[in-house]
Symmetry: C2
Subunit: 144 residues, 2 copies
């Protein structure tokens, strides 16, 4: 069972990562990832290990995402196993231009984090997977 403290620490990691993005602080960003972190981005690229994840983020945050702010709109936390949690976030992205020249306004992303509790009680991101929300399709969700 996740304790209240676990839930708070998990939220702190999610918020801390977003703050590090917004501050363009790559050292802070890296501090929330496990060494063996996997990451799948919104166009389906798969990066294995913190070094690759940070290389990609450093490139994108100095180009396409330079100065682009993000905001967490919703977070849902659940337990997967002892010391492993699933966090599903809805994130609003500030305006940016894609490499193929499209202006993205009001983009929202659905992000899954798998977080693992560390011996020092911190929760770090072991896996991340991100997908752009198709806001029109969302109105036709068959479960709603």
């Amino acid at each position: 069972m996740l304790t209240t403290k676990d839930t708070q620490t998990i939220q702190k990691t999610a918020i801390g990562l977003g703050d590090a993005w917004n501050a363009n602080d790559m050292d802070a960003y890296a501090s929330y990832l496990t060494e063996d972190c996997d990451w799948v981005n919104i166009v389906g690229m798969h990066w294995c290990g913190k070094a690759a994840v940070m290389k990609a983020h450093t490139v994108y945050l100095s180009t396409m995402f330079l100065g682009v702010q993000q905001e967490i709109l919703e977070s849902e936390i659940s337990e997967i196993a002892s010391d492993v949690a699933l966090v599903v976030l809805t994130i609003r992205m500030g305006e940016f231009t894609t490499p193929d020249g499209r202006l993205e306004k009001d983009m929202q992303d659905r992000m899954t984090f798998v977080m693992v509790k560390q011996p020092n009680e911190r929760w770090l991101i072991r896996a991340a997977h991100n997908t752009t929300i198709h806001l029109l399709a969302a109105k036709h969700d068959p479960t709603k």
Copy 2:
């Protein structure tokens, strides 16, 4: 550490789910999911619990994905914790038409599964997150 048997059983779950999709066998499909399964699909819809995940799949497999076959091109398995594994798949989708009328040919998806080992030694899907691979963007992956 994942044993050879664990890895084989994990692969069996991934392949079994794909086979159930291809056979349009919804009972078999459901048998690979935990009761508390989370699922994020390629347009960012988030379904919580096996009942919601199956409702959505049953609707889409009787409409948009009726008769559409999928094939696993690659799978990467790693351990997250004792009895918890991460599986990142590359899946080729057969031709289909989206609800807004676009013909999707040669689509590839990147799928993350979080699988959890059960008391009976089976590995079931606790969380899934899927993203369409932007094949042109993939050529510009900053880590490659």
